[in-house]
Amino acid sequence: MQASGGGAGGAEDRDDQQSSRIPACQSGSGSAEGEAVRRAPQGRGGPGRGRAVMEAAVARPQGDTLRVPFQSPLEADMARRSLLPDAQRHQGLIRKEFAVNGSDLLVRWTADDLAFIRLSMNPFLDQLSLVIRNIRSLGLPPRQSRS
């Protein structure tokens, strides 16, 4: 995650916002990428500190990954196929990549500016929540859920 000169807000702010917005999902936890993002960037705090954080951030891969557990690989893939077609809408500013790992849906954001990721995540979580509610309310047909 590259820190721009003015900084995109404190890491503490971002952590608070993250934890209050994602009750059921984990954001990049346990992965090096996730750790890097949570620490960076802190634009304030003086030039020396900022530079150190920037160096640490640049040394690691950019991006942030969300891991959403589902009941089955089928459901996770269903959610992926529902959400993917509209994910390319703002390709220029931000990139979203989807993958399914077991019963987990993985969504990875990549952008030059942390602010864009934050702006993209909120609406995405709303759409994801709708897909989850949709699957729950209609339920998988018996033969499909047996996988």
Binding site: M78, A79, R81, S82, L83, L84, P85, D86, Q88, R89, P123, D126, Q127, S129, L130, V131, R133, N134, I135, S137, L138, G139, L140, P141, Q144
Partner: protein, 313 residues
């Protein structure tokens, strides 16, 4: 006898409809209404749609007396419209299509209006005036395309009326255009200059009558020009602004002068609704159109003439 389920939510109305062989079996709808003096923004509108869409789906199935097994195709609005609301509806359509293992169809919103107008009125080959908050086009069918003969060069006529209502803080319930129309009916004096002061009082209905007369006359003129060009004997008004009785009167006068027939639908179908998407989807489904999931992304700009209308001669 295919039955098609249609989802529509490109602006502030969210609707789910069911159509089978030319019959509308269900068409529930909700409108996101904002306080006077405000318009509806994409994020809030999408939030509104997400909150009610699953209930609307159940309502539609119950009203139609059908289950998932009776549905043959899932149609949804691919565009044009506002991004976030379009996405909110599209993700549900995709999820339902996967859960029920049914083919998916992305429908052009304008064509939804046209196909519902044709179904309900029985007009055979009309020149279409499509007027709403988001669109203003004069359309004629020719060789498998709905050709755009004329359109607004900036904002839609409904947008003009909505913005005017916003300035005057006219209520948005049920819609700003409806309230403008009611107030304009009470206007007794059509004034050239929209400035009406009586002593300590002011009168705004004269201004609204002025606005309506002027913008509607503009629409009548371009429709007439298209009809003359095509040698058309039928005109069809679709879109929310088509509910306006004054517009219908003015169009009727023009049609009578030409010996042509005017068609219009009531507020159930001229205002955005799910059944119109289902109806266009039904035509497309019968003609063999399908939208693969990978190509089902929404698009805010989607011109009426981009679609190949293979279901008409």
């Amino acid at each position: 006898m295919p039955a098609v389920l249609g989802f529509e939510g490109s602006a502030n109305k969210i609707g789910v409809g069911v159509v089978r062989d030319g019959k509308v079996l269900a068409n529930p709808r909700r409108t996101y209404v904002t306080p006077p003096g405000t318009g509806f923004l994409p994020g809030d509108t999408a939030r509104h749609h997400r909150a009610v869409i699953l209930d609307l789906l159940q309502e539609a199935l119950t009203e139609a007396g059908l289950t998932s097994e009776d549905i043959d195709c899932i149609a949804y609005t691919k565009g044009p419209g506002m991004g976030a609301p379009l996405v909110s509806v599209a993700v549900v359509a995709r999820t339902v299509a996967q859960l029920w293992n049914k083919p998916l169809l992305g429908v052009n919103h304008c064509i939804g209006h046209i196909e519902m107008g044709r179904l309900i009125t029985g007009a055979t080959n009309p020149t279409v005036l499509y007027v709403s908050g988001g669109n203003t086009q004069v359309i004629a069918y020719s060789e498998h395309r709905y050709r755009i003969f004329g359109e607004t060069i900036d904002i839609a006529v409904g947008n003009c009326l909505d913005r005017f209502a916003r300035v005057l803080k006219i209520s948005n319930d049920p819609s700003p255009g409806y309230n403008i129309e009611q107030m304009a009916k009470r206007g007794k004096k059509l004034v050239e200059l929209p400035y009406t002061v009586k002593g300590m009082d002011v009168s705004f209905s004269g201004i609204l009558s002025f606005i309506e007369e002027t913008v509607f006359a503009m629409l009548v003129e371009i429709t007439e020009r298209a009809m003359a060009h095509c040698g058309s004997q039928e005109a069809l008004i679709v879109g929310g602004v088509g509910c306006n009785v004054r517009l219908q009167e003015m169009m009727e006068t023009m049609c009578q002068e030409r010996g042509a027939r005017l068609f219009a639908t009531d507020e159930r179908f001229c205002i955005d609704n799910g059944a119109m998407i289902a109806q266009a989807g039904w035509e497309m489904f019968q003609a063999g159109h399908r939208t693969p999931l990978s190509e089902s992304g929404i698009t805010q700009r989607y011109r009426t003439d981009e679609v190949e209308v293979t279901w008409r001669d």
